[in-house]
C-alpha cells in the first residue's frame, strides 16, 4: 500500500478525481517502473508526462549528448543543455517536475548484450528510438522476456504506434525484419515536424498509463497511424502473424542481434 502524503494527494488530485483511476490507480502509477529507450523527440514528452504522472521509477537510456538541432522537438532539453548527456539533462527536468520519483539515467546504447538485463527491471518499455535496429531489438527483447511495450515511429508529418502485450501482434508480425540501412529515411535524413514528436509521444505516455492502471483498451493488435497534414487518424486492425519469425508457429529467431545501421544516424539524432 502506497502512503500518499498531503503534497502527493494534491499533486495527483486530477488523476485521483478520475473515476477510472482514483487513489488505487494513482497507487499503481506510483509503484510502476517504466523504461524509456531514447531521450529524443518521443522520449522527451513520454518522460515528462510519466514523471509528472508520478511513475515511481523511470529508467531512461540514451548514449548521446544534446545537439542544437535536437531542440526543435526534444522539449525535455534546453539551450543550456547542449553538449550535456541527454539522460542527465532528461533526469534533471523529470526531477524538477516531480522530486518524488526515482530516475535511473543510463548513459549507454541498448544492445543485444545488455537489453534483456536492462529491461528485466521494468514493468513497461517505451520505444522512443530513431532507428530500425534498436526498434527490432526492443521488440525481440520484450517478446522474449514477456514484457509489454509501446512502439512509436515518426517521419515528416506522420506517426505510427501500437502497444504490445504478451500474445498480441509484435513489430515483426507487422514488418518482418529491419529494412536495409538507408532504404527508409529517418528524421535526420528526411526531417520531421517537431510537434509530431509531441503528438505521438503523448499517445505513448497515455498508453503506458492505461497499461499501468488497467483503464480502457490498449492499442494492441492495432496500428494507429496519423498524417498531420490532413489530421487523418486511422486504426488498422492487425493480428498475431503465424508466419512471424519471432512469435509465429515456427520461430527461427531465438537470440538477440545487433543489426547494422546507417552510420550517419548514429551521430546526429
Amino acid at each position: 500500500m502506497y502512503d500518499f502524503t498531503e503534497e502527493e494527494l494534491l499533486r495527483y488530485s486530477r488523476h485521483i478525481l478520475l473515476q477510472d483511476v482514483g487513489v488505487e490507480g494513482q497507487e499503481k502509477i506510483n509503484n510502476a517502473k517504466v523504461l524509456v529507450v531514447g531521450a529524443g523527440g518521443l522520449g522527451a514528452p513520454v518522460s515528462l508526462y510519466l514523471a509528472a504522472a508520478g511513475v515511481g521509477t523511470i529508467g531512461i537510456i540514451d548514449g548521446d549528448v544534446v545537439d542544437l538541432s535536437n531542440l526543435q522537438r526534444q522539449v525535455i532539453h534546453f539551450t543550456k543543455d547542449v553538449d550535456t548527456p541527454k539522460v542527465l539533462s532528461a533526469k534533471e527536468k523529470m526531477l524538477a517536475i516531480n522530486p518524488n520519483i526515482k530516475v535511473n539515467a543510463i548513459q549507454d546504447l541498448l544492445m543485444a548484450d545488455n537489453a534483456l538485463d536492462i529491461i528485466k527491471e521494468y514493468d513497461f518499455i517505451v520505444d522512443g528510438t530513431d532507428n530500425f535496429p534498436v526498434k527490432f531489438l526492443i521488440n525481440d527483447a520484450c517478446v522474449m522476456a514477456g514484457k509489454p511495450f509501446s512502439h512509436g515511429g515518426i517521419l515528416r508529418f506522420e506517426g505510427q504506434t501500437f502497444t504490445h502485450v504478451p500474445g498480441s501482434a509484435c513489430y515483426r508480425c507487422l514488418f518482418g525484419a529491419p529494412p536495409p540501412p538507408n532504404a527508409v529515411p529517418t528524421c535526420s535524413q528526411a526531417g520531421v515536424l517537431g510537434a509530431i514528436a509531441g503528438m505521438l509521444g503523448t499517445i505513448q505516455a497515455a498508453e503506458t498509463l492505461k497499461y499501468i492502471t488497467g483503464v480502457g483498451e490498449l492499442l494492441t493488435n492495432k496500428l494507429l497511424t496519423f498524417n498531420a497534414k490532413t489530421m487523418d487518424f486511422r486504426k488498422i486492425n492487425t493480428r498475431h502473424n503465424s508466419h512471424c519469425k519471432l512469435c509465429g508457429d515456427n520461430p527461427t529467431i531465438t537470440e538477440l542481434v545487433d543489426y547494422e545501421q546507417a552510420t550517419c544516424d548514429l551521430k546526429k539524432h
Binding site: 530513431d130 532507428n131 515518426i154 514488418f175 529494412p179 493480428r239
Partner: protein, 69 residues
C-alpha cells in the same frame, strides 16, 4: 469494375488483380518495403505476385516509420 477497400477508402479496380498489381496501381513508393494485409491477414511477400484480390477485399498497406528522435 470491382470495389475493394484500400487503406480504408473505396477503390474501383479491374479484376483479375494481384497484390503486386494493386501496389503498382497505387504508386506505392518502395514496394519492397511495404507490408500488406488482405482482410486483416498478413500476406507473405512471396505471394504478392500470385494472390488474386476479390470484390470487397480490404487491403492495408503498412509502411516502415523509423524516426523517433
Amino acid at each position: 469494375m470491382a470495389k475493394i477497400v484500400v487503406n480504408g477508402e473505396n477503390q474501383d479496380v479491374q479484376l483479375p488483380l494481384t497484390v503486386a498489381g494493386l501496389i503498382k496501381l497505387n504508386n506505392v513508393l518502395q514496394p519492397e518495403m511495404v507490408s500488406v494485409q488482405v482482410n486483416e491477414e498478413f500476406v507473405d511477400r512471396t505471394e504478392f505476385d500470385t494472390l488474386q484480390l476479390k470484390e470487397n477485399d480490404s487491403v492495408d498497406f503498412l509502411y516502415f516509420m523509423g524516426g523517433g528522435c
